[in-house]
Symmetry: D2
Subunit: 299 residues, 4 copies
């Protein structure tokens, strides 16, 4: 089952919808309290209903076109997340890139790549998350910024995987490269995070994530200026260990998103510019699209 | 003017109170919407009322004893903060301590101490903040933990200093020492942060913070096992630059707390133990007290 | 299926629980968003799960004793109702009683009893509802007050019957008797309404309400001073017509309670006194108990 | 001081504004917590600031045109009221009209007009209140409907008069006329109540309400079909007694609106029709305007 959250075109109220091919069926129409996947996930679990069987109950009556919701800018993040966390240096490619930034060997990045304990950091509050299709923003004080396309987990407070979505952990490479202690400033800023639009629910019918590919494509003025793909099979960690470290002595709220780190890094001379257009695709899930804008003067 | 937040002994409802000597006068009794200092701060500012003049309007009628509120465990953080941020390596003493952890010279800590850009990190959400007098908790996977006593700013969304309070940024030295990329895990965990109980409002009548001392005292089994004092005059940064970097491309909510870093570091062979008792005193403001407990099994 | 709402004895958080004999099984433990029956009712309906089948999923693990929840004063109204409405003169006995109050024949009460349109009035907001077991309060300006034991419906916003509970529409007979235009003052006041504790869910397995009896018993100083019973078979209206008139041009919120009017009226020389104890029993549902107190000076 | 509540034309967020001639100055811009008059009223009272002196602090910077807010449909009720109550038969004219409806003499209306205890009833919840300028709706089952123009009080929970506004208690004369027990159905329905747009704050500088006139004008197809005026000097009750009875054993929330009854009744052969346009003017306060629509099929 795939779900999205969106604003109803008429009432402008938040809806949870099931996506079946290009059609979206509102769940909220039948269960007004379900505007977020978590209450539905808990109900399904308690009643022993599988996501795919449960979904069938809602695939009736009128539907909306996913494409037109996207065009009208009505998509929302697929879950309301008070907290977004992210992991780092979870692919070999990422280690190399981080070392390039800092220009040292035997670095903190080498060590964390090899270590039992992963790198985990606080990425965003709900207020800093940009809905799918909306603009991600550059920092005013960075000259080397990149998207980080990441398979992202939606978690329950108990650490269970509710499902998967596509995430973009927009980052400043020069600020972090200057000093790893600047990582929060390189990561946490206005309009620095987006994920969605689709949440693929965790169920027996989902294919093995190790078989998934993550594609990144950056367009500038109608031309593709970067495009690459990585297999999630190259992910060095397991979901279980990331979640275990995230929740160690650290309660997380329902709907927490955990971005699992990037394996796709544009060349070192690449930096994002206002007007760029970013598409991240995980075939099993969907496509996350965000345009890039410059920093705004007034917060 | 000094304010606290507390639970009314009878109704158990949240109150904002003005502290005058040992007496607490409820503000909420007269303005039911003022259960937090921010609405009062905005009102005073808009009406051109100074905190000390405004306070006079409330110093009448029945009062409660501050000491008895403390004894009964009714104190709350002095402001509801959705976000607590902290600065690091803002004192020479802190730089030396960080280098000791990592056992390297010319370290990231030396560099950040000298650099224009300060170290700033996300410390806590409201859920991770422990009220004054309540238990701070150790991590299960750290063997070297210390309190970090810090002068803490309460900020408006616009970056104005509403006032000052006493903060404790409980930290793991071995986890951060292992790798600076582990800083979020060394800093953000269950019951890792406390501040209060008193908020000293920013006004012309407040003495220069550079003249303030911060004292830390740790008791174990009735004996003082560590005690030291540092002058805030040794603080290397200015409030203005810390706030400027915090808010650079990064909107903060009203009531954000910014801890300014520690200048007091127990000897390297010291680690906190369950049962320890921590007192942090800034004479101009007040005393923050928290006992220490071990990690809890079940979150 | 029967549900109650209660405060957990440890955490003091609101729980929805299923009552099976004297045992209470928390639903909220498994579905944290279900602290009220409505979200569960919508989920069951959308998924095609009958209440009695759905209940089975929760009858496992630890349970609490209903009797001890009652003794400890932890019961809550079985549904959070923003609005409580009530019908009047829906039994022959009630018509007679109302005429006695006003001392006239061919009265407004005779007319409404015979008319197609029923009497319906706004009884209470959530703030005026007293939890089961808690004190109902007399008015300071009435000398003739009675409980009104009423079978009560819990409705969805769409007008569907979610279930039934036991209600007490505490009323002043002299104020209404003085002038029917005073009905709101005779009906709507502080601590004038209670219902619960049990919600019997509407399902095929529920017996015909026409077969139910409503018993009222009033104790004073350990002695029963009034006791009577009426069969719901004597109810002159149908649920459908009451709900139809209630919702005619009048949207109601989810969880609205509709009290269906009383068929039990103590003798005309009876009035409630502080210290009285009221029990209303509908065998198919349960017992609602409330003590009576006098008016309070200070609101 | 006069205030309104409105949606900001850009952000669509709720604003409290001070009206000075035709200009509106946002208060919320300076005190973000003040989106409703009550928090400002409590603050002014606690600080000893008179409304008219306090208003001066906000009459600076950019302003909006009241007329354009009205034209764009951005006006809101001047206070968020969880409860709207109303009084009845408070003018001689009203007594006569009510008797006409019921076609009897020595009626309940005569009695309540003469009695010490006034008629008071629950008129509306916040959900049933229509913003100024928006459509009031007729009932589907009434053929005799009228506006009731009423001077309306905005009250604190303590019963103090925060200020005055213009109210319209849309009513069905035939339903109430059929039986006084139907009063709640004649009064409480979808889109049956509106008040505003201006709140005139209670202060020493306000003229005696007894000197105010209330004008009602009903237009149909561009023609005035009814127009009349009544002096508030003909009001039979005092504010104090109405408020006293309202709050007798009956706690009210902050911002409760109390409509004081009507002294203007169109001829008995007049009934409202969809498309009618109602204007109620109290010179000291302002004009409340609402068009009339028919009942809607689907709630």
């Amino acid at each position: 089952m795939k779900t999205i959250r969106y604003l109803d075109p008429q009432s402008r109220q938040v809806q949870l919808g099931i996506v079946e091919r290009d059609e979206v069926y509102s769940v909220t129409r039948q269960v007004p309290q379900w505007t977020d996947p978590l209450p539905m996930w808990y109900a399904f679990r308690a009643l022993g209903v599988s996501p795919d069987a449960g979904a069938q109950r809602f695939l009736q009556g009128s539907s909306l076109s996913f494409a037109s919701l996207e065009e009208e800018g009505l998509l929302l993040p697929p879950v309301h997340s008070e907290e977004v966390w992210a992991a780092g240096v979870t692919y070999e490619r990422s280690r190399a890139a981080r070392n390039a930034e800092t220009k040292i060997t035997d670095s903190v990045y080498d060590r964390v790549y090899e270590a039992e304990r992963p790198e985990l950091f606080f990425k965003a509050t709900a207020q800093r998350v940009v809905p799918p299709g909306q603009e991600l923003g550059l920092r005013c004080d960075s000259t080397w910024m990149v998207p980080e396309p990441e398979l992202s987990l939606v978690l329950s407070r108990g650490g269970e995987i509710v499902g998967w979505t596509v995430g973009n952990d927009l980052s400043s490479r020069d600020i972090e490269g200057d000093n790893p202690l600047y990582l929060p400033q390189a990561k946490v800023f206005h309009r620095s995070c987006s994920f969605g639009p689709v949440l693929l629910w965790n169920s027996d019918e989902v294919s093995d994530p190790a078989s998934w590919n993550i594609q990144l494509q950056i367009e500038r003025g109608g031309t593709v200026v970067y495009s690459d793909v990585v297999s999630f099979g190259q992910f060095r960690r397991s979901f279980k260990e990331l979640i275990g470290y995230l929740r160690r002595d650290n309660p997380i709220p329902d709907g927490t998103v955990l971005m699992t780190g990037t394996g796709l890094v544009p060349p070192d001379d690449f930096t994002l510019q206002p007007g760029d257009d970013i598409k991240i695709r995980i075939d099993a899930i969907g496509i996350l699209h965000n345009p890039i804008v410059g920093p705004i003067d007034e917060l």
